[in-house]
């Protein structure tokens, strides 16, 4: 199961996996929007590109997801499809990602609870047995 929500009492924990780190990051983004709405109802018609750099993979995950959260408020765009490339660069890691979606429509997208931020609690990005796993906790 590429996305699993974890039992945090007040907030929402997410575990997202993939065969590559890019896939795991893409699933994490899908999990993020899955908290906020029914992502299957979001028409993937507009692209938003992300380029970010961080010293560690964990910081990169937070930067990627935070960027998407910011877009929701700045442009009103919410996303359902993601493609992510992560590679070592300049002593850290660089992410080039595309998020595809459309403007939020509360009459169609079945809104849930807004995510306030990505905490550092339980944050991890690890590879084991040919699978990449990301874990984080969203403040709702």
């Amino acid at each position: 199961m590429p996305i699993e929500y974890l039992d945090h009492t007040a907030d929402v924990g997410l575990r997202a996996t993939g065969r590559t780190i890019g896939e795991a990051f893409a699933e994490a983004a899908r999990g993020l929007f899955g908290v906020m709405l029914d992502a299957a109802r979001v028409d993937p018609s507009q692209e938003h590109h992300v380029f970010t750099h961080a010293a560690t993979l964990e910081e990169l995950l937070v930067a990627w997801l935070s960027d998407l959260l910011v877009q929701k408020d700045l442009t009103g765009l919410v996303f359902s499809r993601f493609a992510v490339d992560v590679r070592s660069e300049d002593g850290g890691f660089a992410l080039r990602g595309t998020a595809i979606g459309e403007p939020l429509d509360v009459t169609r997208h079945r809104p849930g609870c807004e995510v306030k931020g990505i905490s550092l609690l339980g944050l991890r990005v690890e590879e084991a047995g040919g699978e990449w796993t990301t874990e984080c906790v969203f403040d709702v």
Binding site: L69, L74, P111, E114, G117, S119
Partner: protein
């Protein structure tokens, strides 16, 4: 592991890297849950989080856990940590993303019999007037320069724009304006995100509730607060919205760096911190003050919209709505306290906890000083909320801190699996409680069964002596984002 020191007070003695004990104010049910989480090696457990806070430099007296305690990130929710200004740290996880999330209580001059015949219309008016839920936008559109004014002046800035009355300000914590705010410490991104969000309720556990005063439990304090039995009141629970969230996100990164630069050993990443007396510490506190002022302004704007909603409903249109109090429950403030007989200034972090100063503190509004200011405690959609007040015992044992709500007992995932939004609304309807919600999924996640028993939580706060009861409020109509 835990030593019981009185009926509702427990202590975890310092072990390992803990500099002070953990003091818990809780009933046996909560203690059983906390210790079970430790025994089961639960991934997140509040007792361990409180113990981690006790490891931080400069912490005074005790790391506290209040009766509504449950796992958070960094600090537990319902956690309090007070730090020496010279040797202590300021901790992002001790404030959280929703800076100065809190409650505004408005009181009408109406008996419930006047309002109940018009409750459906009133609930609809509130639902249509107060923007709430994911993506909602307020009518106040503030450009970055105008946002700067809000960040410094707080509630006063929106009163000046016609959202409310001057008399509101005296009954808001800090006068609705936290000092020390510096908009230069808040990113442009945070300000841009806030552009359309001033005067919006948010979602999740935020709400707007029409309530009736069910019982007066302290006649003197209730008289001071202007509360009477059967009175219609309105509670607004919301915070600093996207601006607060972005400050939290920005400073988590900045403080993680500061933790390394200052060589501070922290038990977990979410306790990223900086010495209070450092550039990073001062910047963060100036930003927190900005976030706090944004929350005060937000609740002030919504209070104004609530007045407009009442004015639009025939039968209640002449209602006068007065601010009883407005209090936050995620903040860090410099306060004067007595520790081991010595008066000291401390930076008190309260995460999911309110200030609860007892009588005769100058921080309370003059009209309330003889009894202490109100503490506003939210229940759930189907249960009571409470007005409490602080006590001398609370000042001595808990840095004048109070509970903020029932506290969650069940994850959102479990709650959504067990409950359907429509069924929750129907069930509340049979109890005479109207619900208007922008998200049925949120209603399920916020089902009353997902929370601890508010009566037990209040019982423990009162039984421990740190807070005292003033009035019990019951919901009549709930607006959810």
């Amino acid at each position: 592991m835990l030593k019981r020191t009185s009926t509702y007070e427990w202590q975890l003695a310092p072990t390992g890297k803990m500099r002070v004990p953990v003091t818990l104010f809780a009933d046996e049910t909560t203690i059983a849950q906390l210790t079970a989480d430790v025994a089961n090696r639960a991934q997140w457990n509040a007792l361990q989080q409180a113990a981690h806070v006790a490891c931080l430099p400069g912490i005074a007296q005790s790391s506290l856990a209040l009766p509504d305690v449950h796992p958070g990130y960094g600090f537990p929710i319902g956690g309090v940590g007070a730090f020496d200004l010279d040797t202590g740290v300021v901790v992002v996880g001790g404030v959280g993303f929703d800076i100065n999330c809190g409650v505004r209580l408005l009181a009408t001059d109406l008996d419930r019999s006047t309002v109940e015949p018009h409750l459906v219309e009133l609930a609809d008016a509130l639902f249509n007037t107060v923007p709430a839920g994911l993506g909602s936008q307020g009518s106040l559109r503030l450009k970055p320069a105008e946002i700067d004014r809000v960040l410094v002046e707080g509630a006063e800035s929106v009163v000046r724009r016609g959202y409310g009355i001057e008399e509101d300000l005296a009954f808001i914590e800090e006068g609705g304006r936290m000092r020390g705010a510096d908009p230069g410490t808040v990113s442009d991104l945070a300000k841009q995100r806030q552009f359309r969000q001033v005067g919006t309720l948010g979602s999740g556990n935020h709400y707007l509730e029409v309530q009736a005063v069910d019982r007066i439990l302290d006649a003197e304090a209730a008289t001071a607060y202007g509360l009477f039995e059967r009175q219609i009141v309105v509670s607004i629970h919301t915070g600093s919205r996207a601006l607060g969230h972005q400050i939290g996100q920005d400073y988590l990164k900045e403080m993680a760096e500061a933790t390394k630069v200052h060589g501070i050993e922290i038990p977990e990443q979410e306790l990223a911190c900086a010495p209070i007396d450092s550039l990073a510490g001062r910047r963060y506190l100036a930003a927190v003050a900005c976030g706090a002022n944004c929350a005060f302004a937000n609740r002030q704007a919504i209070a104004h919209l609530v007045r407009q909603a009442f004015a639009s409903v025939k039968g209640v249109s002449r209602a006068m709505l007065r601010t009883v109090y407005d209090i936050g429950h995620n903040n860090a403030k410099v306060e004067r306290h007595t520790v081991a007989g010595v008066d000291r200034e401390l930076l008190v972090h309260r995460k999911g906890s309110t200030r609860a100063f007892g009588p005769q503190r100058e921080e309370s509004p003059a009209a309330y000083r003889h009894v202490g200011h109100p503490i506003l405690v939210g229940g759930t959609m189907g249960t009571a909320s409470y007005v409490l007040r602080g006590t001398d015992t609370g000042m001595r044992k808990a840095f004048g801190s109070g509970i903020h709500g029932a506290g969650r007992a069940m994850s959102r995932k479990k709650a959504a699996k067990k409950h359907w939004g429509e069924a929750v609304i129907e069930e509340l309807g049979t109890s005479g409680i109207l619900v208007r919600a922008h998200s049925l999924r949120s209603v399920a996640e916020e089902a009353p069964a997902a929370y601890k028993d508010v009566e037990a939580v209040v019982g423990a706060a009162v039984g421990s002596g740190i807070n005292a009861p003033v009035a019990r409020l019951m919901p009549l109509a709930v607006i959810k984002g």
